[in-house]
């Protein structure tokens, strides 16, 4: 495999992000004892499984050229509905989870239909969805509902041992499965490629005969579904439902996607990048926790700086690739044009002209 072939303006942000993650992790390993272990790494996944799932849905939306601000609220609503059904109504977990997933997907579907059918701005529609879902939480209850149901806590606290002392949770496994499926969806299905095409140029996608409407609606449905799943994962993690869960999660998800190399203008990005983005957010948190002297708000500062840096970097790469493509505009010519062939070409042209004038 020729590696250098795969490094271009698209993949470079992803590569840089991955290197940054390795660097941050390496830094932690050197600076703090006990940081360098498989468990610390896996904990990143376990602690951030829900952001990861939500960010994956968000990545599809952003690649399609849209935005989904409702994800955090849908997550909160999902935790609320789940907790209420499990605790107050004693439903089985196997009935509750499909139901809330369906609810999230339905919520996304509705927003998608509004966006497509009435040509509304995704920003506004999903902003509406955000308020609506958050508000609905408080209809169920103003207080937090903790989940004590036996079977639920069992699943939530299940630890799959990997070797002697490392373990992984169900949530992390679900997040990885979702990631694998999302990569397949994005890279190897017609739906995925249509999402990229719409983000690249919606009018063109229309003129190429692609199913724009269906795809756009599906993208928001997918994001709603991912949010609901993220909500379920939070209930595993926190064992409670609360209207104030996942406040501002939509922004974390967007940040993860952008740090992972997805362009907010749409059309460019990798789902896997969002995982790395999430891991970077997580590793910064871990670093600050290990340090112990900094307040956790430093995470925000670090993320803010990173975001700016990444946007800047993407812009620079774009510039770079433009001047790069400029060189290509001489595609017809060999790099060092030998005088000979060139003269022949001109002569061919000349004869064409003479024949035309003669005719």
């Amino acid at each position: 495999m020729n590696l250098s072939r795969h490094i271009n303006a698209r993949t470079l942000p992803l590569i840089v992000t991955s290197l940054l993650f390795v660097a941050l992790f390496g830094f932690g390993s050197i600076a703090y004892t006990g940081f360098f272990s498989a468990q610390v790494f896996i904990n990143l996944l376990i602690d951030n499984a829900f952001i990861c799932v939500v960010a994956i849905g968000m990545t599809f939306v952003i690649i399609s050229g849209g935005i989904d601000l409702s994800v955090g609220s849908i997550v909160a609503l999902t935790t609320m509905v789940t907790a209420a059904l499990v605790e107050h109504h004693h439903w089985s977990i196997w009935a509750v989870i499909p139901l809330v997933l369906l609810m999230g997907a339905g919520f996304g579907l509705l927003m998608g239909v509004l966006i497509h059918a009435f040509q509304l701005q995704p920003f506004i529609v999903t902003l509406g969805g955000m308020f609506l879902a958050r508000g609905l939480c408080y209809v169920i209850s103003i207080d937090s509902i903790s989940i004590t149901d036996e079977s639920y806590t069992q699943i939530a606290q299940y630890r799959l041992m990997l070797g002697e002392e490392t373990f992984i949770s169900i949530s992390a496994l679900i997040a990885l499965a979702v990631l694998a499926f999302a990569i397949y969806l994005a890279q190897y299905t017609r739906f995925g490629r249509t999402v990229y095409a719409i983000g690249g140029n919606e009018r063109s996608a229309l003129l190429m005969g692609l199913p724009i409407g269906r795809t756009k609606i599906l993208v928001y449905t997918l994001s709603g579904l991912c949010s609901a799943l993220g909500g379920v994962l939070i209930t595993f993690y926190m064992l409670s439902g609360y209207g104030l869960h996942a406040l501002g999660l939509e922004l974390d998800a967007i940040a993860a996607a952008v740090i992972g190399g997805t362009l907010l203008t749409g059309g460019v990005g990798y789902v896997a990048g969002s995982l790395v983005g999430v891991l970077i957010l997580g590793v910064i948190q871990s670093l600050i926790a290990f340090d112990g002297t900094l307040s956790s708000w430093w995470t925000r500062i670090a993320v803010g700086v990173l975001l700016c840096l990444f946007c800047l970097m993407q812009r620079l790469f774009e510039r770079g690739s433009q001047s790069f493509s400029f060189l290509f505009s001489y595609w017809k010519k060999p790099a060092e044009p030998s005088n000979n062939t060139d003269q022949e070409a001109s002569k061919a042209c000349l004869t064409q002209v003479t024949t035309r004038t003669a005719a």
């Binding site: 072939r5 271009n8 698209r10 397949y184 890279q187 190897y188 299905t189 017609r190 490629r193 249509t194 990229y196 095409a197 983000g199 690249g200 140029n201 009018r203 063109s204 996608a205 229309l206 003129l207 190429m208 005969g209 692609l210 199913p211 059309g267 460019v268 690739s321 790069f324 493509s325 400029f326 060189l327 290509f328 505009s329 001489y330 595609w331 017809k332 010519k333 044009p337 060139d342 003269q343 070409a345 001109s346 002569k347 042209c349 000349l350 064409q352 002209v353 003479t354 004038t357």
Partner: protein
């Protein structure tokens, strides 16, 4: 002909708010023919194609494919019944790879996944048929417009369609590429495909087409065999009045205004390592300097250097006798230089803004936001240019995106003329403009020039360069190889110079 037509459109009507774009238009396509659809800018050619392919819904009329009534409501549907189209506007996604652009919408699936290997292989073959050899896994945006246009064509050619529609596919191509496209079309024709072809190049019309349908102002004028319709007749039927290319040429050549003694812009040894070798150019007020040369000879690069878009690392520029550094377009604009870029689709128009706003844009930018042009004045200026350039629109407030392609080009030209520049760089100003308008625009260029404007004129059509230029700087291999006075030059002498026979 004894064969049945494969496609018949009859009584097609389509109105947009304020314009009747199509009034009772008909069209017949036979298998195994290339059919040229001709007409001036705004005649309704693209609209007819959009109605046929389901982008627009007709207000009336019927479309029959092989005798069966069809009514496509989206492009996908039209593709499914065997109508494959290259639209006039860009219809590819710059962020996707070349291969993907060719195959999206009909990806081969292997098992549960898209079969990328096949896609890459087959798109390579599809492009090779047009003699293009590029890395198909690179994003489309990394290639120049000409290649992008070829990719769009390859996409359309590679579907096994019965009807192929090409709306001005050749507007960014050079002669070589056009010839390759024509070879491909002839092969398809042999296989019995019906091809509808739109162009403003009459040479191309006669080179490839068997029959011609002419539209004028949204009305069907007639259907002719190409061999039975002379060039002059074709122009006259399109325009609806007598126009003589030759007399225009004579007229324009006869008038030359007074030329300033000193050059307005004088470049000395201007170059940029890797793209342009050092070049000397003097551009006088009251004169048109043409840049002659084949594609890739550095015409556009020269213009971009002069306008401060591309970085230069050697040489000096003097404007009005004063040495200046033009390292950004803003600087160039401040020195009274205007640049009408080649690629209208990506660098030019802002589709959502009105025609007036598009025209006024550069002028307002030059004045700065604090010296806002009163709306009444804006309207007067816009109306003046709409009238002068014959931009076909009911009024200046229409979004420019709704104009026909050629009329957008005219509005772009108006934008730069409105800034009242001292020097105007025109890079392919007549792309996609119909023959009558082309002559008018060249006339206009001449007129502006007589008023004391310095003009740098770039066109891939040598005859056009010859017609308007007072002097022609000939480029080859990104280097200036000589200069000829316009009145002594003809196509042969220029090409001989390029070929190096005369040096």
């Amino acid at each position: 002909m004894t064969v049945e037509p494969i496609l018949v459109m009859q009584g097609i009507r389509k109105s947009f708010p304020g314009v009747a774009a199509l009034k009772n238009v008909q069209l017949r396509l036979f298998p195994g023919e290339v059919h040229a659809l001709m007409g001036q800018n705004g005649a309704g050619k693209s609209t007819l194609i959009k109605v046929l392919t389901g982008v627009e819904t007709p207000d009336g009329g019927e479309i029959r494919l092989k005798g069966e009534l069809i009514q496509p409501t989206c492009v996908g549907e039209a593709q499914a019944i065997g109508i494959s189209t290259v639209y006039q506007e860009i219809n590819l996604c710059p962020n996707l790879s070349v291969a993907e652009n060719i195959f999206i919408g009909r990806f081969p699936i292997r098992g549960p996944a898209i079969d990328w290997k096949t896609i890459e292989r087959e798109s390579q073959t599809a492009l090779a048929a047009l003699n293009i050899h590029i890395d198909v896994t690179l994003p489309l945006a990394s290639f120049p417009v000409a290649i992008q246009q070829m990719v769009a064509i390859a996409r359309a050619l590679s579907t096994a369609a019965q009807v192929l529609i090409l709306d001005e596919p050749t507007s960014s191509l050079d002669e070589d590429e056009v010839e390759r496209l024509f070879q491909a079309l002839r092969q398809l024709k042999q296989k019995g495909m019906a091809i509808l072809f739109v162009t403003h190049f009459l040479d191309q019309t006669y080179a490839i087409s068997d029959r011609i349908t002419v539209l004028r102002n949204g009305e069907f004028v007639g259907e002719y065999a190409a061999s039975a319709l002379s060039r002059l007749d074709l122009i006259n039927t399109m325009v609806g009045r007598e126009i003589d290319e030759a007399s225009y040429a004579a007229e324009t050549a006869a008038q030359t205004g007074s030329v300033a003694a000193d050059p307005y812009v004088s470049a000395c040894g201007l170059g940029s390592t890797g793209t342009m070798r050092p070049i000397d150019l003097d551009i006088y007020q009251g004169q048109v300097l043409g840049l002659g040369g084949l594609l890739g000879s550095g015409r556009t690069e020269t213009a971009r250097m002069l306008f401060g878009i591309d970085h230069t690392d050697s040489g000096t520029i003097r404007v009005g006798g004063e040495a200046v550094k033009l390292n950004s377009p803003r600087k160039a604009v401040q020195h009274g230089i205007a640049f009408c870029p080649e690629d209208r689709k990506t660098e030019g128009i802002i589709a959502e803004l009105s025609i007036r706003e598009n025209i006024i844009l550069a002028l307002q930018a030059r004045r700065g936001i604090f010296r806002y042009l009163p709306k009444r004045l804006q309207r007067t200026i816009a109306d003046e240019y709409i009238q002068q350039l014959g931009i076909r629109t009911p009024d200046a407030e229409k979004p420019i995106g709704q104009l026909s392609g050629g009329n957008q080009q005219k509005a772009l030209l108006a934008r730069w003329l409105a800034t009242d520049p001292k020097m105007l760089i025109l890079d392919e100003p007549t792309r996609g403009i119909d023959i009558a308008a082309k002559l008018e625009i060249m006339e206009l260029v001449k007129a502006q020039c007589r008023k004391g404007l310095a003009i740098l004129f770039i066109s891939s059509e040598m005859s056009e360069v010859l017609r308007v230029s007072d002097r022609i700087a000939v480029l080859r291999d990104r280097q200036k190889i000589g200069e000829i006075a316009g009145k002594d030059a003809d196509e042969q002498s220029v090409f001989r110079m390029i070929a190096g026979a005369e040096s």
